[in-house]
């Protein structure tokens, strides 16, 4: 299957005074798994629907390979889409749903049937071909939707929060399965989600969106460890944004003058574990909570700012004995302290 790169070039879309997409540009490589991540209303679904052909951009261009598809009808784009609610056809059985795109392409009946069955096997739905769609579980519907979107060998696949209706365990299984399917097919995939963990687990690259703009586009690790804006830092996990004056290098070196981001789980209570070039934050323990795999401590710095400190349960021998109001110091390795230029604490 030949997959194609996608170019999104300065695309904007407004609904009245509401700007859904604000001059968005993005290059997606052939065969890449890219996730559009953001809160609701950030423009990620609008961008996906523009690629699908259901939203016409006010300005800008969309290229599939080197072909301009900005104004191409959705049925001529050859893009497989998995919708949030699956959008299966209830008046057709599983096989007819999966064979539908083949029937539209006038594939001979026998061949269409055989390809649909092979695709159903690929998503582990063998034996359910004659089943009524209404008789399927949520996870099975999800797989039918996947099979229907890939059976006609599209060059690009778009997925709009496809797992949001599934329960947690099934969601995690499907995350790995969708990613494996992508790797097997090598198909360019754009995946929309508001779940940052899902984005981290599945993606080659993540584009974090907010207010119709792409805030940052990078690998999951860099997005998590090296966020370029305060929004990205806080959206991706428990982030502490602290003023440079609140931290002290334990080796006495001069701290940088920029606002710093330290993730809650980067801290140690034992200075030795944090290394010689660690930074230290001193304050008063305000609250503590046991969360199973870790403890979450809320530390009030002397300036009044609160900092979240997350200590893995395995390393948190003394946490149970800590009492609110007690003075304490948290240490973070220098490598885990990230400067965000232009942000304020």
């Amino acid at each position: 299957m030949k997959s194609l790169p996608i170019t999104i070039d300065s695309v904007s879309k407004a609904y009245g005074s509401y700007v859904a997409l604000d001059d968005v540009s993005l290059d997606i490589q052939a065969g890449e798994f890219l996730t559009l991540l953001g809160p609701s209303g950030s423009g990620k679904t609008t961008l996906l629907m523009a690629l699908a052909g259901f939203v016409r951009p006010d300005s800008g261009k969309l290229l599939l390979g080197d072909r301009d598809i900005t104004r191409l009808a959705p049925n001529k784009r050859d893009i497989g889409i998995v919708f949030q609610n699956y959008a299966l056809f209830p008046h057709m059985n599983v096989l007819a749903n999966v064979a539908y795109p083949l029937a539209l392409r006038k594939t001979p009946r026998a061949e269409a049937r055989q390809r649909a069955l092979a695709t159903l096997a690929r998503v582990k739905l063998d034996g359910l071909a004659e089943r009524n769609v209404a008789a399927l579980s949520g996870g099975q519907r999800q797989r039918v939707a996947l099979a229907r979107a890939i059976v006609f060998e599209p060059r690009v696949m778009l997925m709009d929060e496809p797992l949001s209706a599934l329960d947690k365990n099934l969601r995690e299984t499907m995350q790995y399965e969708i990613r494996r399917l992508h790797d097997d097919l090598g198909i360019t995939t754009i995946y929309v989600t508001h779940d940052q963990r899902e984005a981290l687990i599945m993606s080659d690259r993540i584009a974090v969106m907010n207010s119709g703009r792409i805030q940052q586009i990078d690998t999951p690790q860099r997005i998590y460890d090296r966020p370029s804006t305060r929004f990205v830092a806080e959206f991706m996990g428990e982030a502490n944004i602290v003023a440079p004056g609140s931290v002290r290098r334990i080796d006495g070196a001069e701290a940088s003058g920029e606002t710093l981001m330290i993730r809650a789980e980067s801290f140690h209570l034992d200075a030795k574990l944090a290394g010689a070039d660690a930074v230290a934050l001193e304050g008063t323990l305000r609250a503590k909570a046991f969360r199973g795999e870790n403890w979450l401590l809320t530390l009030a710095l002397d300036g009044g700012q609160e900092v979240l400190v997350c200590i893995p349960a395995a390393l948190a021998g003394g946490c149970a004995e800590l009492a609110a109001g007690q003075r304490m110091t948290a240490y973070a390795p220098a490598a885990k302290v990230h400067a965000i230029p232009g942000a304020t604490a």
């Binding site: 009808a73 299966l88 008046h91 795109p101």
Partner: protein, 263 residues
């Protein structure tokens, strides 16, 4: 409503009796023509002294009545065939547009159903007269389609509101153009509502008298028009026989719709 009184026997009896009374009040005037139609007498008399099928013979033997029946059935069929596809497309666009635009289109489309029939008929008469179409089947058809579209819309709009539009987008992304998405995805799933809309549109045309009186003439007279005319000119029980048949047709159609919706 009835489930609200599962324990109270008296309340149930009162409620059922009241419901039966209302039904009788609504239906008796219609049903009274049935015995009249089987009368052997030349006069409309109730109850009839003797029974016969002569008025039915009279109806089926009359070239005028048969022509009117044919006209009405053709008109009803054409009205349904034109009004329902039109209403479906209109409802799809209203469903997609939403907001104020859809609301204004809807109020324009539904206007004929709340305008007094006589005003519509007079207006239509002048429009058709200007086009030299008074007295033609086409002229009556235009009037009936105008009346049937709101009826079909009232049936189809709520059905489309319940329809999951993502299915159409899915079909489009899988390679279906508009026609195939509507024909292959929307129509099969709305088939019951479309059947209801078709029968309702058919009945609207079949029952319509005011426009027919103004616009239809001669060979193109419809059944209701001829019934009015014959009531004025010569009252005999033929009209009762026709009314009975007409009521039977309508009942059959309504029962079909009701049964299809149930299953």
């Amino acid at each position: 409503m009835l489930e609200a009184y599962p324990q109270n026997r008296l309340a149930r009896i009162v409620l059922w009796s009241f419901a039966a009374l209302v039904m009788a009040f609504l239906m008796l005037p219609t049903l009274v023509v049935v015995p009249l139609s089987f009368s052997a007498s030349n006069l409309l008399e109730f109850p009839p002294h003797a029974y016969s099928l002569r008025w039915y013979e009279n109806f089926f033997g009359s070239a005028t009545w048969m022509a009117a029946l044919r006209t009405s059935l053709i008109l009803g069929t054409l009205t349904a065939l034109i009004a329902v596809p039109f209403a479906l497309l209109a409802c799809i666009s209203m469903n997609r547009l939403g907001g104020k635009t859809a609301a204004s289109i809807q109020s324009i489309l539904l206007t004929p159903s709340v305008t007094p029939g006589i005003l519509l008929a007079i207006g239509l008469f002048f429009v058709l007269a200007a086009q030299r179409l008074v007295g033609t089947l086409f002229g009556v058809l235009v009037g009936h389609v105008v009346l049937a579209v709101p009826v079909a819309c009232i049936v189809l709009l709520p059905a489309l509101a319940r329809f999951d539009w993502n299915q159409v987008q899915a079909a489009r992304s899988l390679g279906a153009d508009w026609a195939r998405a509507i024909g292959g995805i929307i129509v099969p799933q709305l088939r019951l509502s479309l059947l209801s809309a078709t029968l309702m549109a058919f009945l609207t045309s079949l029952d319509e008298s005011v426009i027919s009186i103004f616009v239809a003439s001669g060979r193109n007279s419809t059944m209701p028009k001829l019934m009015f005319v014959s009531l004025r000119d010569q009252i005999d029980p033929t009209i009762a026989a026709i009314s009975t048949l007409w009521t039977a047709i309508v009942v059959v159609v309504v029962v079909i719709v009701a049964l299809r919706q149930k299953s």
